[in-house]
């Protein structure tokens, strides 16, 4: 078998090699490995050289002590609140107010939160009896936020003690920054195979991916689970629009206002990810649909060369659309091509592709560990043996889910039927094509 495999490769000419493995070298290797290999060390060098500036930002922050509003909208999240509140109590930056909005929970969430409010651990708890959707809950919290900065958190997550301090420093150093994305890591990384794979995925695509995107000036999402915003900017936008995908949507709107959006890999939020593959598929189905709905429909003006045209926004969207939608189509084209032209070498091509992506994954994981070395946890690094499954997880499982989501949203606009929003909100969004 091994001999046959070596023979297969030795017989391939350069052209044939290119013919069989073009997608990897021209797109994935270039975008996700080569750029990481260049920009992650560059980021670390810049961070090292800029440590004095960072210290100045920190001094400014503690000198001015601006009030920071931590807003947590959610439904049926009462059981997570204790841990979240405890992680806020241990923050190095303490001038905080915590506003929790309960979006029509039908469990014991109101009781738990009222109790925490009476203990003074929640500053304001707003209970909405009728569910209005996540955006309305976030906007309710924003309406009562008094802080200069607003940090949006998901209830099922908790923060590293230095998180808030770290996420605020970029605002001190650059007035043009409108939003800072915090790093999101997996809290329940040992829970299941799915959560282990997501741990690696988050390190690659959030910790490294978003840091690199921010360096390139094309970061297009600040995670809903952990993002900091200038309150004046949010108020100019009158808050979030109807989701799903409201975090990506608001980031685009902030960019359109001309503000910069950056990522801060050392401001860490640990979140609970789905532990079962079917739940994970449902989550990704929701996330992936928003690409069609928001990038291609709602914000397609970014592609129009008019007076509001901004090259960085155009590149951000172009990169997103290219690498997610077009490369997804390319994958299917490639599959057809291989089935037609390389049928007799199918197992060798599959093995080679696997090995190429495996190497890429090792390199990316190494870069991620290097980037977040100061905050890397032992149980995160210990997930490396699961890198062997990553080519299958990302290359097949997630790709199938994504393809299905794109097709369903493009053809059937399924996101408008999602029960994630109340039906009244969904029906208006659909009617008005929002």
């Amino acid at each position: 078998m091994l001999d046959a495999f070596i023979q297969f490769h030795s017989r391939l000419g350069l052209w044939e090699w290119f013919l069989f493995f073009w997608p990897f070298f021209f797109f994935d290797f270039f975008r996700y490995v080569l750029i990481d290999l260049i920009l992650v060390p560059a980021y670390c060098v810049r961070r090292y050289l800029g440590r004095g500036r960072q210290a100045r930002g920190r001094r400014q922050l503690f000198h001015h002590q601006p009030l920071v509003s931590v807003i947590v909208p959610g439904k049926n999240e009462g059981r997570h609140m204790g841990k979240l509140v405890a992680s806020l109590e241990t923050q190095t930056y303490s001038n905080l107010e915590l506003i929790v909005v309960d979006d029509g929970s039908d469990d014991d969430t109101p009781g738990i939160c009222r109790n925490l409010e009476s203990q003074g651990l929640i500053d304001l708890f707003i209970r909405n009896d009728v569910r209005g959707g996540k955006a309305s809950a976030a906007n309710t919290a924003l309406r009562y936020a008094r802080g200069d900065y607003v940090i949006h958190l998901d209830a099922d997550s908790h923060l590293d003690p230095r998180s808030i301090e770290t996420i605020l420093i970029p605002f001190m150093l650059d007035q043009s920054i409108g939003a800072v994305g915090g790093d999101v890591r997996v809290a329940n990384n040992d829970a299941s195979l799915a959560s282990r794979l997501q741990t690696i995925e988050y390190m690659k695509s959030i910790s490294t991916g978003r840091t690199v995107s921010a360096m390139l000036g094309i970061l297009r999402i600040v995670a809903g689970a952990h993002g900091a915003f200038r309150r004046d900017v949010l108020e100019r936008l009158h808050g979030w629009d109807v989701g799903p995908g409201l975090d990506g949507d608001i980031t685009v709107k902030i960019r359109k206002l001309g503000f910069r959006v950056v990522h801060e890999p050392d401001a860490i939020c640990y979140t609970n990810v789905p532990v079962a593959f079917n739940k994970l598929a449902r989550q990704r189905f929701r996330w992936d649909r928003s690409l069609i709905r928001f990038r291609l429909r709602k914000h397609n003006d970014i592609f129009r060369p008019d007076a509001n045209f901004q090259i960085s926004n155009f590149l951000s969207f172009a990169e997103n659309v290219f690498f997610n939608i077009l490369l997804n189509i390319r994958w299917w084209v490639y599959m057809v091509q291989i089935l037609l032209t390389g049928q007799q070498y199918l197992e060798f091509i599959a093995l080679t592709t696997y090995l190429l992506y495996l190497v890429a994954n090792f390199l990316q994981f190494g870069m991620a560990c290097f980037l977040i070395s100061r905050t890397l946890r032992r149980n995160e690094a210990a997930q490396w043996p699961y890198l062997f499954l990553m080519p299958v997880y990302m290359g097949i499982y997630l790709r199938l889910v994504r393809s299905y989501a794109y097709v369903m949203e493009s053809l059937h606009r399924v996101s408008y039927l999602d029960r994630w929003n109340p039906w009244k909100v969904s029906s208006i969004s659909q009617r008005e094509d929002l």
Binding site: G104, R114, E117, S118, L124, F125, I126, R127, N128, D129, V130, G132, G133, A135, S136, A137, N139, T140, R143, Y144, H238, G239, W240, D241, V242, L246, K424, V425, I428, S429, E432, L434
Partner: protein
């Protein structure tokens, strides 16, 4: 029983052809002669006063006698009209008189059923109420009124329970009668009363949970479905209706394009924001503030006399105490005792060897015992009877003048010894009530030598007057 009689002071004028009397002139026999009393309603205060003085009398034939108000130009308050038995329109006197005679006839008929007992004296307020309820034969309804600190009053019972030093609480009396199954209550409503002073005038207010200030404002939130903007109602208020500050759309229909998910309060005193204001209530009378759950809640009922109550009212209340004494000691009738005393006087005058005494006992607060101990009062009365039994000899006579006034004829006993006996009774009863029940017994007693000059009625009246 021919013509009604006008009752009032000299200042008020009786309708023509009607006999006028002052309250002080009222006697059981006079009352028997008239079908009803008429009082002037011109001065509501004076009218109430007269009515109270009639109802405060102890003879059933007087206090139960129907009282009607003489109509005047002044409108009559409901509390007053409900307290009286009717209204007399003088403009149409002959027909009016006949109408009232017919209307009030059942009351008089009931009073006449009492026979001679209608001229005796009823002191216990509960018993008076019972007889009143029996004679009127109707349901006594509570009336919501700011005139009563408890928020409700029973207008027809108020004059009956009025006392110069302050009224007996009608609700307490009715509760006692209900506990004895003499009346039955029917639920009307509930009332919150101040836990300190039982006043019903409570100011319920929403306050800040942090500083207890009631200077708070509520913000009604509006959620616009289309753009997810959520803010206070004031954010949306436009010249015409509601307009979204985010997407400029007009908000037309609640539930279709917007809803109101909640209310958020803001404290103007301490800037605290909250959703659940603390409800506190403060009393208008004593100023005390407390949470509503710490205030008293009282049932307000309408009352109707029961069959047992009816027969108790008619044949004497079969007073628990008297019954207990009767079982233990054989209670003599007062009139018979008067005759026995007269015999004793004659005997003394005839032989002039020894002396006998009469002791009058008056329990000042016997009815409080009912109110306090309810049905268990019977057991206490049995104990009191035992005390009397241990002191009295077989040759002594005990009689009840009223439910709380008793006359003892102690034969062959000089007053000094009689005093000693009374002291022993007083001590025994005091030990029993104060020692065991922490209840302060108030027993008035006076001894008299049996002589020709002794007037038993006068002796009793003097003692009871001391109590008043």
């Amino acid at each position: 029983m021919t013509k009604p009689c006008f009752v009032g002071d000299a200042r008020t004028e009786a309708p023509s052809g009607m006999k006028a009397l002052a309250v002080e002139q009222l006697e059981a026999d006079t009352a028997d002669q008239v079908p009803f009393f008429v009082i002037s309603a011109e001065d509501p205060h004076a009218a109430r006063n007269t009515l109270e003085r009639i109802r405060r009398q102890s003879a059933p034939s007087i206090y139960l006698k129907p009282v009607v108000l003489l109509e005047s130009n002044v409108p009559i308050a409901k509390t007053l009209s409900e307290a009286a038995d009717g209204i007399y329109r003088a403009s149409n006197a002959p027909q009016e008189e006949q109408r009232l005679l017919d209307l009030l006839h059942p009351f008089n008929q009931w009073i006449s059923q009492l026979g001679e007992a209608r001229k005796t004296s009823d002191v216990d307020p509960s018993f008076k109420v019972l007889r009143y309820l029996a004679s009127r034969g109707r349901v006594i309804e509570p009336l919501m009124s700011i005139a009563s600190p408890g928020g409700y009053l029973y207008p027809s019972l108020e004059p009956l329970l009025s006392q110069p030093g302050g009224n007996v609480n009608a609700l307490q009396v009715l509760t006692f009668l209900e506990s004895q199954n003499l009346v039955s209550g029917q639920y009307i409503t509930k009332v919150h009363l101040c836990s300190h002073c039982a006043c019903a005038f409570l100011n319920f207010k929403e306050t800040c949970p942090d500083c207890q200030s009631d200077n708070i404002d509520g913000d009604e939130l509006i959620h616009h479905f289309r753009c997810a903007y959520t803010g206070s109602k004031s954010d949306f208020e436009a010249i015409r209706g509601l307009q979204c500050p985010k997407c400029d759309r007009e908000l037309r229909h609640l539930g279709v394009d917007y809803d109101k998910p909640s209310v958020v309060y803001h404290c103007n005193a301490c800037s605290h924001r909250f959703q659940s204001p603390t409800v506190l209530c403060s009393c208008f009378q004593c100023g005390q503030t407390a949470e509503p759950e710490h205030q008293q809640i009282r049932r307000i009922q309408a009352y109707r006399i029961t069959a047992i109550g009816n027969s108790a009212a008619l044949y004497g209340m079969e007073h628990l105490f008297m019954r207990a004494l009767d079982t233990e000691l054989q209670l003599w009738a007062y009139d018979t005792t008067k005759q026995l005393v007269a015999l004793e006087v004659a005997r003394k005058e005839r032989y002039q060897i020894s002396s006998s005494s009469v002791a009058v006992l008056h329990f000042d607060n016997l009815s409080d015992l009912y109110v306090k101990f309810g049905q268990r009062a019977g057991e206490i009365f049995a104990e009191i009877s035992q005390v009397l039994k241990s002191v009295l000899r077989r040759s002594d006579v005990i009689a009840a003048q009223s439910e709380s006034t008793f006359v003892l004829l102690l034969t062959e006993t000089p007053t000094q010894q009689a005093d000693l006996a009374v002291e022993r009774i007083r001590k025994g009863i005091t030990d029993l009530l104060t020692g065991n029940l922490a209840y302060e017994a108030r027993l008035l007693a006076q001894t008299h030598a049996v002589t020709a000059s002794l007037d038993l009625d006068e002796a009793v009246e003097t003692l009871v007057a001391q109590d008043a």
